[in-house]
Symmetry: C2
Subunit: 410 residues, 2 copies
């Protein structure tokens, strides 16, 4: 059975006209011979509205009950989508996450998919039906609904594509693919026709908001080909897949990413002893706080270091508390917080052996008088933290310097 998974995000099903457009896509694919599983998100702002409603009832609502509440959004989406498909004289059925056999763990509001039992989906596909599956939700061993957290619907789509051995997983969204930089900030940004899982992962974790890294990781593990494309036109978007190593022994810059959703913390004057960085990081890990770009200054003559890191803005409260605890225990001087910053990342391959790329990044920023607060590099990514307000200039300058508006030579 040739199966295609098509995922429609919240903006793609935000109103009846868009629901019909999404349904038409699915029907067209079905008529071309594919069996179609459509993964649907909550229409428009529904998730935000339900969250706001719950917060009016209680400041910190119970997480199990939040899952019960929020999972209704996708349930509304699949029902309306199936109604629209049937209206086009194509048979369809909607399935909630639990009905579709999506088994998750019990970490309410941020569950992980444990297993998919696609019996019911396959049964319905065999009847020729388009199967609309609610994204973002599963069932835990206690028969409770759990939701999958940020990027949950993409994850549902990719995991289903893996479980069903689908020939592709199309992610329909309001942008037409993955770009060399955010086109709203860099007008000459170019759509990337295809990109490797590794680079897509780096782009995502560096702030490109097309897909969350967890879905890309699953796609990579199971070899699912992802096609990120627009729900508003029919042009091909960006394929994310295993790439042949055409760039072996060559450096390749594929795109730029910007993140303004992080803050920087510095623990100042930490005694220069073995184990201090570990102590700080384990305190962050214990509190489940994501950390990026850990930088330790060289020790001064007074035998002390500064240790700096980046963490998501929405974790700043817990991060500050955790770092202050570690600061006291280590006898460090204080914790500083920097808020007016932006992180620019250059994504590609082969950076480790081609230091000219890093040199060009620093040079370009210097030429544009943009100060660099922090640097972190890997084989696939060079990230620089710059002062807030300079990020657009930096993006445009780097885009030009690396000639990203031109398709790469093969």
């Amino acid at each position: 059975m040739k199966i295609m998974v098509m995922k429609f995000g919240g903006t793609s099903v935000a109103d009846p006209a868009r629901i019909h457009r999404a349904a038409e896509r699915a029907v067209a694919a079905r008529k071309k011979g594919d069996h179609v599983v459509a993964v649907i998100s909550a229409p428009g702002d529904m998730t935000d509205e339900l969250t706001a409603l719950a917060k009016r009832v209680c400041e910190e609502p119970d997480k199990r009950e939040m899952d019960m509440l929020l999972s209704t959004g996708e349930q509304v989406g699949i029902a309306l989508f199936a109604i629209a498909v049937k209206n086009k004289r194509c048979d369809a059925i909607s399935l909630t996450g639990p009905q579709a056999g999506i088994e998750a763990d019990s970490r309410h509001t941020q569950a992980r998919i444990v297993r998919i039992r696609p019996r019911k989906i396959l049964e319905e596909l065999r009847k020729g039906r388009i199967v609309a599956v609610a994204g973002f939700q599963g069932i835990n061993p206690e028969d409770d609904i759990t939701t999958l957290g940020r990027g949950g619907s993409d994850l549902t789509a990719v995991a289903l594509a893996a479980a069903l051995k689908a020939r592709a997983c199309e992610i329909y969204t309001d942008v037409s693919g993955v770009y060399t930089a955010d086109p709203r900030l860099v007008p000459e940004a170019r759509k990337i026709p295809e990109i490797s899982y590794e680079e897509m992962l780096e782009l995502s974790s560096a702030g490109a908001q097309v897909m969350y890294s967890r879905s890309i990781e699953v796609a990579q593990s199971y070899g699912v080909v992802i096609h990120v494309r627009s729900s508003f036109d029919f042009r091909p978007g960006t394929f994310v897949r295993k790439m042949k190593e055409t760039t072996m022994e060559k450096a390749n810059v594929s795109g730029l990413a910007l993140s303004t959703s992080e803050v920087r913390f510095s623990v100042v004057e930490v005694p220069d002893q073995p184990g201090v960085a570990a102590r700080i990081l384990s305190e962050m890990a214990r509190n489940d706080i994501p950390v990026d770009m850990i930088v330790q200054s060289a020790p001064t003559h007074r035998g002390v270091n500064d240790i700096s890191l980046m963490t998501p803005r929405h974790n700043r409260k817990e991060a500050k508390a955790a770092l202050e605890k570690a600061c006291r225990e280590l006898g460090a001087q204080r914790v500083d917080e920097y808020d007016q910053i932006a992180k620019i990342s250059v994504i590609g391959t082969g950076f480790r052996h081609h230091s000219w790329v890093a040199a060009k990044v620093f040079e370009t920023l210097a030429k544009n008088k943009i100060n660099i607060h922090m640097i972190s590099t890997s084989d696939l990514k060079i990230s620089c933290v710059v002062p807030k307000g300079h990020e657009e200039n930096a993006l445009r300058a780097l885009h030009k310097a690396f000639q990203l508006h031109r398709p790469p030579r093969k």
Copy 2:
């Protein structure tokens, strides 16, 4: 285990403040020692809004998908209710109809409860939790969600009270009980402290909109005591229960009901032959159209009859089609439709052997110059169809004539 079922309708959970008030009631009952099962409806106008949304997608949406869609309303209700209860430091858990073990048949949008398996509810009650169960929904043998149609949440409450052998089933609503007549139309109307299942059934089917008859029938079958009361104050409302026959050999008028939601059809000049009424009614039954007050005129000298009946206004289209089909097949002359009518019913007991009650009804209407279009009587009910515009006068006159503002002598 002493169990109390409390049902909160849509108006009782329409906004966060009301949800908190409902939650407080449940917590208070729990603290007094009852184990509490709270049956919750969809907040406010949510069901209507979802229906309107579906109709914007498709004029006649698929019924299975409508159930998938509409069942989210109650799911939102139970989640918010459980969040509010937990906020009051009382443990709670919400369960959808399927999770609560409410098994229904497959008549989508108007399913019937087949069986309740209350294992999960009992397990949660034993943990001391308040269990919030989604009204109006169940699961069919194919694992699909089905909804129970009009009055579905009341039905869920009464059926749960029966299955759990609850000591009572409290129905919280925006009126403070069952009245001798609609207090908005008859200011001197009196709250009825208790009423038998039979009379409550007649009141409901005659148009009193407090509860639908199907819930009362189930309560009667299983001996569930219903307490209809206001969610806005703490005064006792109306108990619906098995009554001792104190009125044996005496007629008793307990209340008046008004229905303006029906239309009258007449099949004119039907040949006076055996089986014609059956033919007409079976055509209505085949189309699942409710029928009330079937009246056949005495045959004229030309050997023809008129057959008239009442049917809900929202069924008028199908009713007209069905009757016109029967009309053609029977060689009757035509189908007339009367729209400007209202049905007044006097509800009580012992009417069959006390014809003075019927006489007094007709007399009172005549004295007030109110013309009667149709009459139908039973031991428990006398219904008269009157011209639209006269219904309030008729109600007030009858209320006074039977002195319903005074409590009945015991």
